[in-house]
Subunit: 290 residues, 2 copies
Amino acid sequence: MSDRIALIEAGGTKFIVGVGDASRQIHARTRIDTTRPEETIPAAIDWLRAQGGDYAAVGIASFGPLDLDRASPKWGHITRTTKPHWSDADIAGPFARAFGCPVAIDTDVNGAALAEWEWGAGQGTNSTLYLTVGTGVGGGAVVGGRLIHGLSHPEMGHIRMPRHPDDRGFAGHCSFHGDCLEGLAAGPSIIARWGASLSDLPADHIGHDIIAWHLAQAVQTFQAILDPARIILGGGVMGTPGLLDRVRIRASEAGAGYFAGDPSRVITSPALGSDVGLLGALALALRAAG
Amino acid sequence: MSDRIALIEAGGTKFIVGVGDASRQIHARTRIDTTRPEETIPAAIDWLRAQGGDYAAVGIASFGPLDLDRASPKWGHITRTTKPHWSDADIAGPFARAFGCPVAIDTDVNGAALAEWEWGAGQGTNSTLYLTVGTGVGGGAVVGGRLIHGLSHPEMGHIRMPRHPDDRGFAGHCSFHGDCLEGLAAGPSIIARWGASLSDLPADHIGHDIIAWHLAQAVQTFQAILDPARIILGGGVMGTPGLLDRVRIRASEAGAGYFAGDPSRVITSPALGSDVGLLGALALALRAAG
């Protein structure tokens, strides 16, 4: 029997498809544009077949929101999304039918949280939260060795937030909630306020402090609810030089020493780099198999 | 061997001490004022000895913050508290030495969350959050059958919050964080703003909507991070007539249909009534016993 695992990082712009194994090697990979489900998913299956087609499992780390209720007829489907053509798309089913093996699916950020906890910046801890701050804000968390799920997967970008005193005029950029975390800290909210991405603003621009301050408030909320040993901040916005340290300083001020974890040690960068998507899919598949 | 379990609900004002068993019967109980550790804890032990002294386990649901790290020499101690005499007090140790049996200890709200999930308003769900809104605000959550712990227990009263537009003048009542959830919604914050408890304010007083609105924002944050099947709101402030329904309405507005759970079904009252403290201690003891 094969020990090869088919890996799918399903994003709103592109699918990264790969072949890996339990030793964490990724043997091959390709990129497929995300167009329509009836094009993108068969293209991914064709590529995986061309690699040999014999897989022990399929791991999918997908954009969402997803139906992850195993008892639901829509398990493994995207639910409702603003992305054209993808609402109600069945992601898991076509791979299960094509390869006749177990399919594990969860959100991209849950996959990243699991992979960073198993092999990356959260290794050896009892609790790790992964937050990506980019075009949107999303997060997942491993607590006591398991990913958190309630009625569905977390939507951590949509926590409620206080407002920086110098940022009160901005309504927020989330089409559902206005000034939730995503509405205040994701890339489009930065461009909406200041006309450029954070990394393109001068180093003394107030935007740096406003974004760091909002992320620090989010860190306090995560500490109050989960008290994670690691809070890993990734995504394009976090690539801004100096931002991670600004968040640490602001989070220390906000928490006022109240929580068990010191923000300067708890808050950290991802360790798995650009492979985190495929490694997330791998971690999900290994977890489901094991 | 005895199947009797010693139960301690350790509060800042009083200890309720009882004797129960796995059938959820509570056979006897007493109340001991919380004065100093060297008075209150021996009085609890003496009473438990007078009931027979032969216990299979001790369950303690305590005020906090607590050191719950089993590897720490201070496991089972209160850490730092504003309550005089109780910082660094060993709660679990004296009971373990007195009765020579396993001792389970966790926060009162974690105990309540576990008991409500096992036997109360969260029964049959995969995820239940319990929040008490009284002199302080505290919460615990069961996810996938287990209480959430990170570096320590949750401190859910200290999540960050947006501000109701008609409540901007109030600095908040939390001595650590000002206008965190506890600083905006606990009983003392209500008295600080309006000179009376919420239940004593006229039914058309704006305080009802301001408190409901803040609790609804907290509900959204809980949904975004944990998406619990039940969010149980207890504590003295929640006894205010009409408040639960106001929170449901405001939470539905805030969430804008984004989360899997409908706030009108997710948000509910506790089912275990005034026994929740002792039943929490019982649930913790039974859980630890396996």
